[in-house]
């Protein structure tokens, strides 16, 4: 597995997902449907500062923010966890 090839495919995958995002389904997912069927509701105890956005532009902003933060957090965590080989 070549790192460069994997990186290119992952970047292409991100671009494709963003491009097809206007076709996304807004129907509830499997868990939400099952919860609804049994009259189970969520009880929010924490209000997150961001959302995924309702329009394509707000989706793009959320995606860009999420991608940057997820990349950085994972990169920094993995880097910190790794001990330098002697």
């Amino acid at each position: 597995m070549k790192g460069k090839k994997v990186a290119i495919i992952l970047i292409a995958f991100i671009v494709v997902v963003i491009l097809i995002s206007p076709l996304a389904s807004y129907a509830p997912d499997g868990l939400e449907n099952a919860m609804e069927a049994f009259g189970v509701g969520e009880h929010t105890i924490y209000h997150a500062p961001l959302s995924y956005g309702a329009s394509f532009i707000s989706f793009l902003v959320s995606a860009a923010t999420g991608i940057a933060i997820t990349f950085l957090i994972t990169y920094i965590t993995a880097k910190l966890m790794r001990k330098r080989r002697v």
Binding site: M1, G30, F38, E42, I45, L50
Partner: protein
């Protein structure tokens, strides 16, 4: 399949946090031996999983689903790296975007990260003789269905919904979601690794 707040009882919350916390700690310890050049790829993989989980695809009338990705990342980078990637994604989704409950974070890491990483990875290894793409597809499907079973057990044990009827619905929906997961996992493994025998052994995994 992100469990929100209010579905799990305190014992379920504590148990799932303990299991996931231990798995994340173990994964972090294994990262000590990770190759330096793979670290940016893990960040990129986490970003790809994050964005993939933002987009739901229709699976049947009135029901949608999204990619989990834990098995895919485990096949590419190993199960411990996958646990780390999935934990990062799920923590950011919960804390910044409110996708999944804060009390259910342990359960979500367990259902969508750890199960897919370990069961998916070892099932893929067992089935690899069938061909990488088919093995990855089956492992991806199983990871979604097992995650749904585990979520149902957690909700059932919490007394929030009747276990067997809830499980039945979850299995119906997630068997369909799993097909898309399987197809995408197989396709991406084919693109990234091809059908050739992979000589590399992921971090923390003994070569058999």
């Amino acid at each position: 399949m992100h469990i929100p707040d209010g579905l799990l009882s305190t014992p379920a919350v504590v148990t799932t946090y303990l299991i996931s916390g231990s798995a994340v700690y173990l994964a972090a310890k294994k990262m000590e031996k990770e190759d330096e050049e793979k670290i940016p790829l893990l960040g990129l993989a986490a970003a790809a999983i994050f964005v993939a989980q933002m987009v739901n695809f229709p699976v049947m009338a009135g029901v949608s689903g999204h990619l989990l990705g834990a098995t895919l990342i485990a096949i590419l980078f190993g199960p411990y790296a996958s646990v780390l990637v999935m934990s990062s994604v799920l923590i950011i989704q919960t804390l910044l975007f409110g996708d999944g409950g804060i009390t259910a974070l342990g359960a979500n890491i367990l259902n969508m990260g750890i199960i897919g990483a370990f069961v998916g990875y070892y099932l893929y290894k067992k089935l690899e003789r069938l061909g990488k793409v088919l093995a990855a597809g089956i492992a991806g499907w199983v990871s979604v269905v097992l995650g749904a079973v585990l979520a149902s057990i957690e909700v059932g044990l919490s007394g929030t919904a009747p276990f067997l009827p809830f499980l039945k619905l979850m299995l119906i929906y997630h068997s369909a979601v799993g097909v898309i997961e399987g197809v995408l996992t197989g396709a991406l493994v084919m693109l990234m690794q091809g059908q050739k025998e992979e000589k590399e052994t992921p971090v923390g995994v003994k070569r058999s």
